[in-house]
Symmetry: C2
Subunit: 335 residues, 2 copies
């Protein structure tokens, strides 16, 4: 290399595409371009920090639109802060990519920037390296002291609730990787959109503090994630599977059984799973409605350990398991 | 997969190797295991955050000892905070690796843990994914409000100084990748150590606040890095190349010209480059000496732009250029 002028220098590359992502924030004292960023925390808050990596061929198809990849890389992290009820403020990006293709970078950084702007998040540090496509984003935010939603705060008797609808992203991934010409185009577009452009429930997470007792985001599927919340709270969980919220698009696209399998086992929905005391549920549902967001009670937390599932009153054993990056895509179901 | 019991689950993997890295800190309200970490910042400080990625075959040889890789992944980030004069507190790890080999993980996490413990840094978040070996660490720390060392703070007339010795890591990399049986074993060990286990100058960076006017760390080599500091400060820089501090090991191993080339152009030394007002230099050198650290004045900052080099009074043009991840390893010099 060295003589290949089609390649941008690393310094130019970072500057051109990433130095202006996100809103100008007065709490960013020093952003991209020095050895570290300098950031000012609001008084009486705690710093919330999360990191998530997405890898081509594992978290998204190799031929994904770079705009979607940029969106997803930030969305999965914002979703982690949403699950704490924290307000995102800053992000750093560690981008490993095979070559510095300007078109790809334009679309990738555009997808990242649009979501960052929507949440007022500033990109304050970046690192680009040559290698197989891997994107790590770390987000930092803040939450009023002592108010964060942890996985461990649920009580026996709390209702289990989820935001939005489940299973859409699983169907969207199948659509993104398969060929489905018999389905109505609007349905296909909507389901793919749900996989490619997940919506982190940031506003609702912040709103739920003080009412919900515990929360986590559904990145690996309900079957994989619910045991983590139950275990962290030292409780058992029960779910009535027929109550899982399914979108009309998913029901138009898939058989009832397939829709249920996706809602239970597929990851990537990035909805929130919450524990809510029964006497706080109506308030939380009303707060969700104000954000045009559906909230559905799907079960409850009980004394004991483990997770039980019922379908129309009968014991039920979900087929799918949570996504485990080293065991492989056990939740990936092909239509 | 799914039936391959030799593979650890992701959840177990993170827990087993990474959940206890670093000291227990009372400011870690919630560490690994929830959606995000919750951290408490000291009063009257700014948050300093940096991210750096290292990739096998690009930042370290494919056959590197995993202990060294773990050390380096954190060291390069601690060095960024050192360059700000910030005190590191917390780190997150995004680890992409081809397989969950327990021996490799044991050594990798050991190297990371030893350095984290030495600096009192807690690992508060982690993410493991299957894929080609890529390690991103983000560090977070704090620095008293308004006191951070930026690249942009230097004044015309300030001396340029560097900590430690330069070029050792360049020679160490050549030794790690080549075959050099004619050289004294202790020399080889020491130079390789300098590449494999760089020492971030954290204590000195914090000490230099209030005396130095600007700082950065030397990750890409003096020829590549100095222009960034000069440019950020809106100044020209001049270096007397014969003043570059060379270790006795490097001088024992390499010809004067090769030693100089490494000191100028090779990266990976992770020493600090500082701008120091002439009347503050003696104080800073004394502070360095208290930390058993060499401080050497190598030139000065002047009005104007660009960097000039002289060797024994004559104009000099360095052969090597800073490392650029997309242009390739232009600084890599083979013995």
């Amino acid at each position: 290399m060295g003589r290949d002028e089609a390649h941008l220098g690393e310094f130019d590359l970072i500057r051109r595409y990433f130095s202006r992502i996100g809103r100008a924030r007065s709490d960013v004292l020093l952003g991209v371009g020095d050895d570290a960023a300098l950031l000012r925390m609001p008084a009486d808050t705690e710093l919330a920090a999360a990191v998530d990596t997405i890898v081509a061929g594992r978290h998204f198809p190799h031929d994904s639109d770079a705009r979607s990849i940029g969106h997803r890389a930030l969305a999965v992290n914002l979703s982690d802060l949403a699950a704490m009820g924290a307000t995102p403020a800053w992000a750093t990006l560690a981008l490993t990519l095979p070559s510095a293709d300007p078109d790809w970078l334009e679309r990738f950084s555009g997808g990242l920037a649009d979501l960052a702007n929507a949440h007022g998040v500033a990109l304050v540090g970046g690192d680009t390296t040559a290698g197989p496509l891997t994107i790590s984003v770390q987000v930092m935010g803040h939450v009023a002291r002592g108010t964060a939603l942890r996985r461990s705060g649920a009580h026996a008797g709390d209702l289990l609730a989820v935001t939005g609808t489940l299973g859409d992203a699983g169907a969207g991934l199948a659509l993104a990787t398969g060929s489905h010409t018999t389905v109505d185009d609007a349905v296909v577009r909507e389901l793919r959109q749900r996989f490619e452009y997940p919506t982190p429930r940031v506003e609702f997470g912040a709103t739920a503090r003080g009412t919900a007792t515990a929360a986590m985001d559904l990145s690996d599927g309900l079957v994989g994630d619910l045991p983590k919340l139950a275990c962290a709270s030292g409780l058992a969980a029960h779910v009535d599977v027929e109550r899982l919220p399914l979108s009309s698009d998913l029901q138009a696209f898939a058989s009832p059984q397939r829709a249920r399998d996706w809602a239970l086992g597929a990851g990537d929905d990035y909805e929130l799973l919450l524990a809510v005391p029964p006497d706080g549920y109506a308030k939380l549902a009303s707060l969700a409605a104000q954000l045009d967001l559906r909230l559905t009670a799907i079960g409850e937390l009980r004394r004991g350990t483990g997770v039980s599932w019922a379908l129309n009153g009968a014991n039920f054993t979900p087929a799918a398991h949570g996504y485990d990056h080293f065991r492989g895509p056990s939740t990936q179901i092909t239509v």
